[in-house]
Symmetry: C2
Subunit: 129 residues, 2 copies
Amino acid sequence: MADPLTRNQQLVLDALSSAERPQTAYALLDRVRADGIKAPPQVYRALEKLVAEGLAHRIESLNAFVACCHGHGHCAGTVVFMICDDCGHVDEFVDAALSQRIKELSLEQNFQPNKETLEIRGSCAACSA
Amino acid sequence: MADPLTRNQQLVLDALSSAERPQTAYALLDRVRADGIKAPPQVYRALEKLVAEGLAHRIESLNAFVACCHGHGHCAGTVVFMICDDCGHVDEFVDAALSQRIKELSLEQNFQPNKETLEIRGSCAACSA
DNA sequence: CGTTGATATGTTATATCATAACATTTCGAT
DNA sequence: ATCGAAATGTTATGATATAACATATCAACG
């Protein structure tokens, strides 16, 4: 089910996990160059696997990636990202009511959902205080 | 409030409105070249204004744009896009319950939302039948 | 009018994000 | 040991987006 990570995948995941904020593929490349990774495809391939395994998420509105805060496996429901445009911090939630309403909406439309993206941009509690 | 559109803005909006599917900025550029628009910044500027006015939306997960199906002004609540990955069709909704839950979630976190992105990718009724 | 200031436009160049294509290596299963 | 699948390395290029600056348009004011 969850394949063990290869060297490159682990390096990219470590770089992502140790970052405070979402990282673009090229920012990650800079962080793993010292480990011998030299070109974008190597990073994108690792990210593809990490995202498929649920260990990382792509933030569409930033063209960047974050490590999944749950550390392993897939989340049960639609993942909500709250993204602070001031400090860059991202919080990740799953809300049952929200997930349920999205499922209902899809059903009403006879739409077969495959992947949902929900990103809230704004100011976090600390920055808007 | 709603400024009248300039020539370039109107050209880009027309190109977007007459398209069946989301259009990238470069696809739009191809569609308005005959009208004398020659370079990406001209398209991106027009799009920026159209999105600000609520006449168009950016689909983050596609890096593409659609004309707002309501034709004018801003939508009351979080806009939900259902995007068919088979035929490319996009439907746009606003759902009160969903919008309300997103507002509540933000409040719970003391997060000041500025912009929400909710995109559901999958197969539409026609394509999944 | 004619000037002025704000906004839009035109243009070039370049930054940033992402993948195609193909050669090589690694490694588990037989 | 060999074979095949998967991962990796590498080069090149495609696709998306914006910086920077020059020019033009146009409404408001004296």
